[in-house]
């Protein structure tokens, strides 16, 4: 993985977020407090702002800086979670390298695991993890099978979409929607939606 790819991914993510303003905003208005789009946009824009500095870094250092930047700009629940993701991914890459798809998949999985630990949530709680855990599992599996990276990406796009859509029928037990009980049913989780958007954006670059 090259720093260039990370920068392109950041740009693609920023565009995907901004292009989905209405969806993200209305989902968080429905079962949250309405700021998820604003939070994600603030974070994505902040990364665009530091691109020149990131460009000079190794991939792991760039991911670490992205994590720190998100940590200090997003706030809310998504801020520390996404920051933990990138900081953990950075650490794994720094330790094990990123010279194979398997290693990249492992670092992605480490990132998702960091979110799980930070948020003390798991699959089926109507959070971003309902997208990230299946994607992470699939990614690791396919990478171990030495699948073609384009095929992996196509599969992950599907997995992310399924995970995102599946949150619709769930009751939330973590995050702000946890207070809603049955009333959360029928609404897609905003964090799951934004994670799906980000995964699609990055996979399409491959």
């Amino acid at each position: 993985m090259q720093t260039d790819f990370i920068l392109n991914a950041a740009k693609a993510i920023q565009q995907a977020i901004v292009a989905n303003e209405n969806a993200l905003e209305s989902l968080d208005r429905a079962i949250g407090d309405g700021d998820h789009y604003l939070n994600m946009k603030r974070g994505a824009n902040a990364i665009i702002d530091i691109q020149p500095a990131l460009a000079t870094l190794t991939p792991d250092a760039a991911l670490q800086q992205i994590g720190l930047k998100l940590l200090s700009t997003i706030g809310g629940a998504s801020g520390p979670l996404l920051a933990s993701f990138f900081m953990s991914m950075a650490k794994t890459i720094k330790e094990n390298g990123d010279d194979s798809i398997s290693k990249i998949a492992a670092s992605f999985a480490a990132g998702v695991e960091a979110i799980r630990q930070r948020g003390k949530a798991d699959l089926g709680e109507k959070t971003m993890l309902d997208v990230l855990i299946p994607v992470s599992n699939q990614f690791v599996l396919l990478a171990a099978q030495h699948c073609d990276s384009k095929l992996i990406c196509a599969t992950l796009i599907d997995t992310a979409e399924q995970g995102m859509l599946a949150t619709k029928d769930l009751i939330a037990t973590k995050g702000r929607a946890a207070g809603l009980g049955e009333r959360a049913i029928g609404h897609i989780d905003p964090g799951a939606k934004s994670c799906q958007l980000m995964i699609v954006a990055v996979c399409k670059l491959v």
Binding site: D33, D35, G75, R118, K174, R176, A178
Partner: protein, 339 residues
Amino acid sequence: MKKFITKIDDMLVDSLNGFATAHADLVNLHLDPHFITRKNKSANKVAVISGGGSGHEPLHSGYIGYGMLDAACPGHVFTSPTPDQMLAAAEAVHADKGILFIVKNYAGDVMNFEMAAEMLPFEHATVLTSDDVAVTNSTYTTGRRGVAGTMIVEKCIGSLAETGASLQACKALGDKVNSRTASMGVALTSCTVPAAGRPTFDIDDNELEMGVGIHGEPGRRREAMREADVIVKDLVAAILEDLESVHLKAFDINSGETSEALLMINGFGATPLMELYLLYNLAAKLFNQHGLQISRSLVGNYTTALDMAGASITICLLDDEIKQHWDSPVHTSALRWGR
């Protein structure tokens, strides 16, 4: 949306600047990262720091000063602040007795403060406030939200910290006050987050949201609008049920026992004082009938949700220790007595 704003992206800083200028005798403002510190802080005390999304003013910045907070970290509107803010604030106000974070129990606030705490080079502890009985505790959820009762926790901890008490003692008092505090709110209208530009939720002219959160999160249920006495009855019942479940004691005048309590009617931002006092009148009577003797009262906008119309009722069960720390002098921009 009509609001007093010059440029939406500058709104928070413009407002913080106004706050700091208006209360230059009490506070200092620091920007990038944003935090507000207390002027004339006594040396050698636990540094008490709170913070949270903006839009709940006077919470928390309005409670900085003698006998209450040493610093507050304001996040964007309804968005928890970030760890760099708490770290910088802690650096600015620590004084050898450790740092106490007071955090409202929301996933975002908890995680951001947690990450700050992990990076903190000082002894520290955290009190999580969780007074909102609208969201019932369960082993599956992250637990109840912290709402208007947070201010009572801040007042009591601030008072004890002022005496030079230890970090452990301050944390213990905070946890105790929180465990004896129960709130529930009702919204008549939504609030509008400035950057979003439109109401967070839709609500009809003949509806109310029972158990609403202070960010306009949906509550227990959407109901038809009713008379104030019926609304208050439901709120009071929910609070009493919770207090009874926690304290294993029926609050019933017939039991012969009475408990002393503080009653706060908190406006969410757009409800006139006239209506808040009307709610107080109804709530006080009902609690009295249930054996609660209301000996301390607070009516006004103490923990708001921007421009939401609605109010919450909070009961804090008093004991001698809590009473002492509630009554002790406090000098902040939003709460002041005794000096």
